[in-house]
């Protein structure tokens, strides 16, 4: 078994497999993410991209394989423990707390007061407020702090969700189609935001917009039918004939 505490990689995925009633959505998948890397995962629909994120963050139970984050075995941990280990995941469909304000959404994600008694006696002090305002500024929602999240536009909800992850300061951020459904202007702003936050951490992004991918990617992994089809820089992948055939088109 490979040494799972190799400091060269922040995330090591080995032989990851999940089987739903015999159908292998992810099939003996392996890839390695380095610190401060922005890895973009692309591939046709049904390739297993979202499932990979589900497996890493604990939403779905793997059938076999290993996932190590900074030496910790993620497959043995609960979802909230994985979050505390430093892995943040943004979902494909908006999953902010619709009934709460932007401020309350961010406050809920604040990395303090996560235990029962911590939450009971949690005070909304200046430190908390300052940090929330700082994040709100970064995600372009400084003017909307008291707004109920349900009333935000689709793009704003995506930003809010990114903010909810940022406030936890994760070392590995996983984003599932962050610019889906956004206007061109919103995409530009999101690309700016992501480039800023990528600087301090490792990021895995699932995306379909190739222009956007080219903007942010350090390396690209192409998934097909639950396995890695190709991996490397953007040019390498774009010129790989297998990728062209399966996904990018002629």
């Amino acid at each position: 078994m490979l040494d799972m505490t190799n400091p060269k990689y922040v995330l090591m995925v080995e032989g990851l497999t999940v089987s739903f009633d015999g159908f292998k959505a992810v099939n003996d998948l392996s890839f390695y993410v380095e610190p401060n890397e922005c890895r973009v995962i692309i591939g046709p629909n049904g390739a297993g991209k979202t499932t990979v994120l589900d497996l890493i963050c604990g939403r779905t139970k793997a059938t076999s394989g290993n996932v190590a984050f900074k030496g910790a075995d993620l497959l043995k941990m609960r979802e909230d423990q994985i979050v505390h280990a430093g892995v943040g995941r943004k979902f494909q469909t908006s999953s902010v707390y619709e009934d709460l304000s932007v401020f309350a959404n961010l406050e809920l994600s604040f990395p303090k007061g996560h235990g029962v008694f911590g939450a009971l006696f949690f005070q909304r002090d200046d430190e908390v407020k300052a940090r929330i305002e700082e994040i709100a500024e970064m995600i372009f929602l400084a003017e909307h702090l008291t707004q109920k999240a349900a009333f935000l536009s689709h793009g704003q909800k995506q930003w809010l969700e990114i903010g909810m992850l940022l406030i936890q300061d994760p070392e590995l951020l996983m984003l599932d189609e962050p610019v889906a459904g956004m206007s061109v202007a919103e995409r530009k702003k999101t690309a700016e935001l992501l480039n800023r936050i990528i600087a301090d951490r490792s990021v895995i992004v699932i995306e379909h917009d190739m222009g956007f991918v080219a903007d942010i990617a350090t390396r690209v992994t192409v998934l097909h039918q639950g396995k890695v089809l190709s991996e490397g820089s953007m040019e390498h992948v774009q010129n790989d004939p297998r990728v062209v055939e399966v996904y990018l088109g002629h």
Binding site: F20, D21, T60, K61
Partner: protein
């Protein structure tokens, strides 16, 4: 304890307890089947299930009186008429209740629980007003009375055998309907993906109503069978409701085979323990074991698949 009996006596005791357990098992199966259909396929908890059962029992009582008073010649056959009528009466009431109340609450299972509890109170009160607060006895036709001797030490009550045959045939009937009929196909389609079922033209509202009605109808037949082992009163339905729920949950909701397996184990455990302990301790231990196992394995002991 055991040393008081010879080996063959012990064997006979176990066999007879086993048979008593089988009768209990059959009643559990009949009660649980109706509930399993409704809960397993629709996710609806019907707290008034016992009262639908008692409706069947009361219908049986009425039919037995009717035949006794007006058609004594046909009395020995009344039971079959009673069962059919019980099915229809309970089924009709079930369909009405689904239309009036349940269909508004599909997305709110906890609220359905409370609303059907209210329904059970109302039904209990109606039975009390119509039939009186005291229990009524149902006269069993002659051919059902007595026992069949199997060996010189083991005797089996005939009504028990009847109930068992009934349970088996109805289970088989439900299975066939669920997995071989058009209706069953539609129910399973709706269970899997309601929106798509709607989109391909399945009348989901009507199917839901029929499903609920059939579940209640089966309860009505269980009530008919129940008249042979217990007395019928307005609150008799409450007696077995917790057991029935546990049987369904223990068997893994959505699995008919699981329900049957679960009914078997629970009824056998209880009747065997009843022999050695007092009635109430046997009940307590059985329930505790079931709850304990559920705490360790919440999807039920016999559920076949578990997808995260």
């Amino acid at each position: 304890m055991f040393s008081e009996y010879t080996a063959s006596e012990l064997g006979a005791i176990f066999a007879m307890q086993g048979f008593a357990g089988l009768i209990l098992f059959s009643v559990f199966v009949l009660m649980a089947l109706g509930l399993a259909i409704i809960f397993g396929q629709m996710g609806v908890i019907n707290m008034a299930h016992g009262e639908f059962m008692i409706l069947g029992a009361y219908v049986t009582y009425l039919v037995s009186n009717l035949f006794g008073d007006h058609m004594p010649v046909l009395f020995s056959g009344y039971f079959f008429v009673a069962m059919i009528l019980a099915f229809m009466a309970a089924g009709a009431l079930g369909m009405f209740v689904e239309w009036a109340m349940i269909r508004h609450l599909y997305k709110r299972p906890l609220d359905t629980l409370l609303a059907t509890w209210g329904l059970s109170l109302i039904l209990q009160q109606i039975y009390r007003s119509v039939f009186g607060a005291r229990e009524v006895g149902v006269t069993i036709p002659d051919w059902m009375m007595g026992s069949l001797p199997l060996t010189d030490m083991i005797e089996v009550p005939i009504n028990g055998i009847f109930v068992m045959i009934l349970a088996v045939s109805i289970s088989a009937g439900v299975y066939v309907m669920m997995y071989r009929s058009r209706w069953g196909q539609q129910v399973r389609a709706i269970n899997n993906n309601r929106q798509m079922a709607d989109a391909v033209g399945i009348n989901t509202a009507l199917t839901d109503r029929m499903t609920f009605g059939i579940g209640c109808g089966v309860a009505g037949v269980a009530g008919s069978a129940f008249t042979m082992i217990g007395s019928t009163g307005p609150t008799a339905g409450q007696q077995y409701i917790v057991d029935t729920f546990l049987v369904v949950v223990f068997g893994g909701a959505g699995s008919l085979l699981g329900t049957i397996a679960s009914a078997f184990s629970i009824s056998q455990a209880q009747s065997i323990m009843e022999f050695f302990l007092s009635g109430s301790m046997a009940k307590v231990l059985t329930l505790l074991t079931v709850v304990g196992i559920l705490m360790l394995r919440p999807q039920g002991l016999f559920s076949l698949k578990l997808r995260k």
